[in-house]
């Protein structure tokens, strides 16, 4: 099987596992959405209201469990995630549609920037091993160990509240109508600068450290020494010989670490009241809105899986070894 096809099968399996978990967790766990609503109005809601709430949320348990499972898969494939219990009668899919673009733009752009800059710095730190840049690593590790949301709060306090350099939270200035006009786009970009800065600063050290370590190992390889012995200019040795080979493990690491980075970014959105999925997740958690919570889990998982697939495609293009593997199979 070609490399990409094999990876595709893997991601389909992973997606299926996520879907199945999502289906069975509510049925295996003690609490449920209906009880959560019932408990919020003790006394006022009669036990007979149970069925009514179930019907309202569209989670009535009709038929066998396998029948339900099948119905669920069909619904999800139509992006039908049911009705939000906290923002009734809004459809979960509508709520997701409103928030996904925000998160995707902010977290996507910032993560890619952090990865590119971190990798570039890692190349330099690995090349000048023990040099000035390399010595900043312990400091960067400290930045990386700070919880995202805590760092976000400190930045918010220092750069938005004390020095009025950036706006305090929200996705765009109040009074603007979202749309494709410059006033809105400019405002949205301005409001996303500080959240993006948070993501970049806290995640850059991880990419840098990883790339530096792989670089140092790669620089010890015979072919790099041979390239140097041939008298090739340093930049050619660094980028064409060492960095290109060190990039493959780095890209693979990128795919695997993406889940962590995205999760951190979600919590950070809460601090900035950024109108993305993270904020939606918080409101879902605080109001026990299980349909919404579960849909968010699915959306985030699928996004990470898709990003991983893209990384795999990039690897095939970047690394001849992956292509050779494909040809010889």
């Amino acid at each position: 099987m070609p490399f990409i096809l094999r990876r595709l099968v893997f991601y389909v399996i992973a997606a299926w596992v996520a879907l199945t978990l999502n289906f069975f967790i509510p049925r295996a766990m003690p609490g449920n959405a209906v009880e959560a609503i019932m408990s919020k109005f003790p006394g006022t809601l009669q036990p007979s209201a149970y069925r009514a709430i179930e019907a309202m949320l569209g989670i009535g348990h009709a038929g066998s469990i396998w029948h339900q499972y099948w119905r669920y898969l069909v619904d999800v494939s139509h992006f039908d995630f049911g009705v939000s219990s906290s923002q009734y009668p809004a459809q979960v899919s509508t709520l997701l549609g409103e928030t996904i673009p925000w998160t995707l733009t902010l977290v996507g752009t910032a993560t890619v920037i952090a990865f590119v800059v971190g990798t570039a710095l890692g190349i330099l730190a690995g090349w000048r091993h023990g040099g000035a840049l390399d010595r900043t690593l312990p400091g960067l590790m400290f930045l990386q160990a700070i919880p995202y949301f805590f760092f976000a709060l400190i930045l918010l306090e220092l750069l938005a509240l004390k020095v009025h350099l950036f706006p305090v939270g929200e996705g765009y200035a109040g009074g603007l109508v979202p749309g494709w006009h410059w006033a809105f786009i400019g405002s949205a970009i301005y409001h996303s600068l500080l959240p993006a800065l948070t993501i970049v600063l806290t995640s850059i050290a991880g990419w840098m450290l990883q790339m530096r370590n792989v670089m140092i190992t790669t620089l010890g390889e015979d072919y790099v020494i041979a390239a140097q012995a041939k008298g090739l200019p340093s930049h050619r040795v660094i980028f064409t010989y060492a960095a290109r080979n060190a990039l493959l493990p780095q890209l693979q690491g990128f795919g695997l670490a993406l889940g962590f980075v995205v999760s951190g970014a979600l919590i950070m959105e809460i601090v900035f009241s950024y109108p993305g999925i993270g904020l939606l997740l918080l409101s879902a958690v605080s109001s026990d809105d299980f349909p919404l919570m579960q849909a968010i889990f699915l959306v985030i998982t699928f996004a990470v899986l898709l990003a991983n697939l893209i990384v795999d495609v990039v690897i095939v293009f970047a690394d001849p070894r992956a292509r050779v593997q494909e040809a010889t199979r």
């Binding site: 023990g130 700070i146 919880p147 400190i154 306090e157 990883q210 370590n213 968010i296």
Partner: protein, 351 residues
């Protein structure tokens, strides 16, 4: 979650390194700093709750003590409701570290079992176990943790430990599987088999002891993950909010606008504690990496030969290469410091 991405890329393999006197001295600087930082927090976790100046939950009704700045009586100030921040911090460090260590132990045990089993059973079992771990590796854990904890009626310490441990093992399992595959066919394993040792004995006394450093690294990573995830979960309110952990401290501080009201003493200490613990763990892990892979060591482990820093892994310097590196003042003085022409040739130069 916080920035707890797995940092360790190279698995440290230390076979047959005995603890010898002077080992501490030879440890990489990063590992030393990390160990000292962690030691400090472990100490705080052990003796902290015994020496708390106040009951962390006691709400002092005195209005002057609502969000009071640090003073002699309250070294880290007070919260909105007059609780002592230092006492909360000391109890919180204990609770957070306790949780993280238990999660670390349970999840690492799981990864050893899964990793070793996959490599040893081989065939379809290996494939299935690997698939299982890889699937859970790509599925983002925080949203899943949120759903699991969300459904649990009691979100106490035990529930958090259970869900964190249940999702914290795949990374370790993957690395340990790879390492087990690498040593499975070594001669000493064959020898053990030849002498009639049982599979269990081989696993417990031949394989696992040879993976101690790898298991240690995976433990450190898991503790890091557990701290980050538990603090993040508590921050969004998915924890027992009546107990004092670093995460719940941050939850209450954020909920009552501590930072906006200028009460930095309430907000900064727990966050800083999390960050410093995390830094300690990352440094320790980097140190473990460097022990196993000498190339990664920084210049501090180098020795100075004729004005040039050489790392242990650098090629042996050629004399000419060393002596040519006279720059600046040394080069200037060198131009007239020699007594004869013979003395100036490189071979005659003494190091």
């Amino acid at each position: 979650m916080t920035a707890t991405m797995p940092v360790s890329t190279e698995a440290a393999v230390l076979v047959g390194q005995e603890a010898v006197p002077g080992r501490w001295r030879r440890m990489p600087t990063k590992a030393k700093v990390g160990a000292v930082l962690l030691g400090f927090f472990v100490l705080a976790a052990i003796i902290g709750p015994l020496v708390t100046p106040y009951d962390p939950s006691y709400q002092n009704p005195n209005p002057a003590l609502s969000m009071a700045a640090p003073s002699a009586a309250h070294l880290l100030g007070t919260t909105q409701s007059g609780q002592d921040v230092l006492s909360q911090l000391l109890v919180g460090i204990r609770l957070t570290l306790e949780l993280a260590v238990i999660v670390g132990v349970v999840a690492t045990a799981l990864s050893v079992i899964v990793g070793v089993a996959a490599a040893f059973l081989g065939g379809i079992w290996d494939e299935l176990l690997s698939l299982f771990s890889n699937v859970f590796l790509v599925i983002p854990s925080l949203p899943l943790l949120i759903i699991l904890l969300g459904y649990l009626p009691q979100k106490g310490q035990l529930a958090t430990i259970a869900v964190l441990a249940a999702l914290g093992w795949p990374w370790g399992a993957r690395v340990i599987r790879a390492q087990t595959l690498a040593i499975r066919n070594r001669d000493f394993i064959s020898a053990a088999r030849e002498t009639g040792e049982s599979t269990w004995r081989i696993l417990a006394f031949e394989i696992v002891p040879n993976e101690v450093s790898l298991i240690a690294a995976s433990f450190v990573n898991t503790v890091l993950y557990a701290i980050g995830a538990s603090v993040a979960l508590a921050f969004i309110g998915l924890a027992d909010l009546n107990s004092w952990s670093l995460g719940t401290m941050l939850y209450w501080a954020e909920g009552q606008d501590a930072l906006q009201l200028g009460a930095w003493w309430w907000f900064v200490p727990p966050g800083l504690a999390v960050a410093l613990m995390g830094t300690g763990l990352v440094l320790l892990n980097t140190g473990i990496d460097e022990l196993g892979n000498p190339r990664l060591r920084d210049a501090s482990s180098a020795s100075r030969i004729a004005g040039r820093w050489l790392r242990p892994t650098d090629p042996t310097p050629v004399l000419a290469e060393v002596s040519q590196r006279r720059t600046g003042l040394a080069g200037f003085v060198h131009s007239f410091s020699r007594s004869s022409l013979l003395d100036e040739t490189e071979a005659g130069d003494t190091l």
